[in-house]
């Protein structure tokens, strides 16, 4: 990574931390410790399942919310505060700015996820009193959640490169919802004939497939995640994020910033 991208990424991370983004960890810790302690009292025999399901769902949703709300402001905030002009007046290219912002935000989310993962494993230790072999798959689910963040960050950045923050948030969240229903969309495309079928298939393949990145229920039951799925999901995320970031760069290159 070139050093200019590194600087922009580091500053984006620093700014997010200064904006108290990591405060969400307090809410997460309270939620998880509360669930770990309470669930044994109010339910039967699902302590471990709740810790994994609730923990990973919270990691995912908290992260997606952060990715959307920070991602949509990455460009517009710099324009509003006029700091973008200072940055671009230096030997920094527009594409470097976009890519640096992307890495900065994903870096913030990786750190956030890492700290939350420690919380999930501590809660697991609390309810099960020991770690088991199947807990390894929880790490894989966390990795998939990070992949999910990469796509959401890329999409938020893409929309924010040409739209207002509010509309960018709406577009990104809508794609997150549609992406989680990708399997249904594909099923719908299969049963639709003619031009409608073609359009439905095109949409089904164009929207991000978040359902393939969600293995929370599976790992909660201790099921293994196939190595091939890990590989394909990694490649898919890389390609999809690259596609969205490239789109953002192309639009931002042509954008009139005056």
């Amino acid at each position: 990574m070139n050093s200019r991208i590194g600087y922009i990424a580091f500053n984006t991370f620093r700014e997010a931390v200064r904006d108290r983004v990591l405060y969400n960890l307090i809410a997460f810790a309270l939620l998880l410790s509360g669930a770990a302690i309470l669930v044994g009292e109010i339910s039967i025999d699902i302590e471990r399942l709740v810790v994994v399901n609730l923990g990973l769902t919270a990691v995912s949703l908290f992260g997606v919310v952060i990715a959307i709300f920070i991602g949509i402001g990455l460009v517009s905030k710099e324009i509003d505060k006029r700091t973008l002009y200072t940055v671009l007046s230096r030997p920094v290219r527009r594409w470097e700015f976009v890519v640096g912002k992307f890495f900065g935000l994903t870096g913030t989310l990786v750190v956030n996820t890492f700290l939350m993962a420690i919380g999930v494993f501590l809660a697991l230790l609390y309810v099960a009193h020991r770690f088991e072999k199947m807990d390894v798959w929880v790490l894989v689910a966390l990795y998939f959640i990070v992949l999910q963040f990469l796509i959401v960050c890329a999409l938020a950045l893409f929309f924010s490169s040409f739209s207002t923050p509010l509309m960018s948030a709406v577009f990104t969240f809508a794609l997150f919802v549609i992406g989680n229903l990708a399997e249904d969309l594909r099923g719908f495309a299969k049963i639709t004939q003619g031009v409608g079928g073609w359009i439905a298939t095109a949409i089904a393949y164009l929207v991000p497939n978040f359902s393939a990145l969600n293995v929370i229920s599976q790992v909660a039951h201790g099921d293994a995640v196939p190595g091939r799925l890990i590989l394909y999901n990694s490649v898919y995320t890389l390609l999809y994020s690259a596609m969205a970031i490239s789109g953002a760069v192309l639009i931002f290159q042509r954008r009139n910033l005056k």
Partner: protein, 313 residues
């Protein structure tokens, strides 16, 4: 002067905050009181698991856990109130298991909530049967589910052939319980009622870590001991009656005649009573739950006190 004004604002704001908080909670409590019954039942209640699955955005595991907890709470609340109205229990369990077909505790304990007659359950053995069959269909490698289905056939339907078949299927699994093949054989022979029941309750005790279910199994094991003791002692009294033409005046008569050794006592250590008409009774009928024998004439089998939710089987 300015500091005094700031302090005054702080004081007023704090007072309003505390008052509003307390008032809000009190009002909410009054609203809950007004809508008691409907609130708890309608909350989280959506019948279509397909709709729920889509609404959950893929986070179905957590939703299933919430529905299962809701089912446990609902059963506990209805059991505790003694209303006997469990109409939402089966749909709640259905939604739970359709959202997460691999949630084994929902089948295991759900069937135990559904099958027994009120007040100990919903009195819906048919629904329990469907739930267990759905559970086995989706978790064919879980011996506990075969055990629970066999238990259901034995206790609720008295269908020994089907119970034997299900226990035998469970016994063939790579990971199973040592009692499964024995239970299958006993069911097939339809023999040794007390021993079979004891083995079933012992397996129930062994197969769960849940304290309430374990206590329930212990209570049933103690009750079985009393039922068996009373049956055996009454047979002895009958034999004595046939030999001497009169009922024994006390346990001493039976001991002197060589029928028993020492004074027989119930599992709590209290000696059994021998009545004038040759019946055996426990000294404190309320101390051992679920007993069907050794009770004074007209007494009903004692039940454990109703618990706060989540309730035991």
């Amino acid at each position: 002067m300015r500091m005094i004004a700031t302090r005054r604002v702080n004081l007023v704001a704090t007072s309003v905050l505390l008052f509003s908080m307390a008032g809000g909670m009190a009002t909410l409590s009054a609203i809950d009181h007004l809508r008691r019954g409907s609130v708890a039942q309608e909350a989280l209640y959506l019948r279509s698991s397909k709709v729920l699955r889509r609404m959950s955005l893929g986070y179905t595991g957590l939703l299933a856990d919430i529905y299962w907890t809701r089912a446990v709470q609902y059963f506990g609340e209805q059991h505790h109130s003694g209303s006997g109205d469990f109409r939402l229990l089966a749909p709640l369990l259905e939604v739970t298991t359709e959202l997460d077909p691999r949630l084994v505790p929902a089948y295991q304990f759900g069937a135990n909530f559904l099958a027994p007659k009120p007040p100990n359950g919903a009195g819906l053995p048919g629904a329990a049967l469907s739930l267990m069959k759905y559970g086995i269909e989706h978790n064919p490698d879980q011996w506990r589910l075969y055990y629970n289905l066999g238990f259901l056939y034995y206790t609720e339907f008295k269908d020994f052939a089907k119970a034997a078949d299900v226990f035998a299927q469970g016994a063939k699994l790579p990971v199973t319980n040592e009692f499964m093949p024995i239970l299958a054989a006993r069911m097939a022979q339809h023999a040794g009622e007390f021993d079979t029941a004891r083995m079933l309750w012992f397996t129930t005790y062994q197969s769960t870590k849940e304290a309430r279910i374990r206590q329930n199994a212990v209570d049933h094991l103690l009750a079985l001991q009393v039922d068996e003791d009373v049956t055996r002692l009454e047979q002895v009294v009958e034999k004595y009656h046939q030999q001497t033409g009169r009922f024994p005046a006390g346990m001493g008569d039976l001991e002197r005649a060589g029928f028993i050794h020492g004074t027989p006592a119930d599992p709590k250590g209290r000696p059994y009573k021998l009545t004038r008409d040759g019946r055996i009774e426990v000294q404190d009928p309320k101390s051992i739950f679920f007993i069907t024998k050794g009770l004074p004439p007209g007494a009903t089998p004692p039940q454990p006190p109703r618990e706060n939710p989540p309730a035991s089987k």
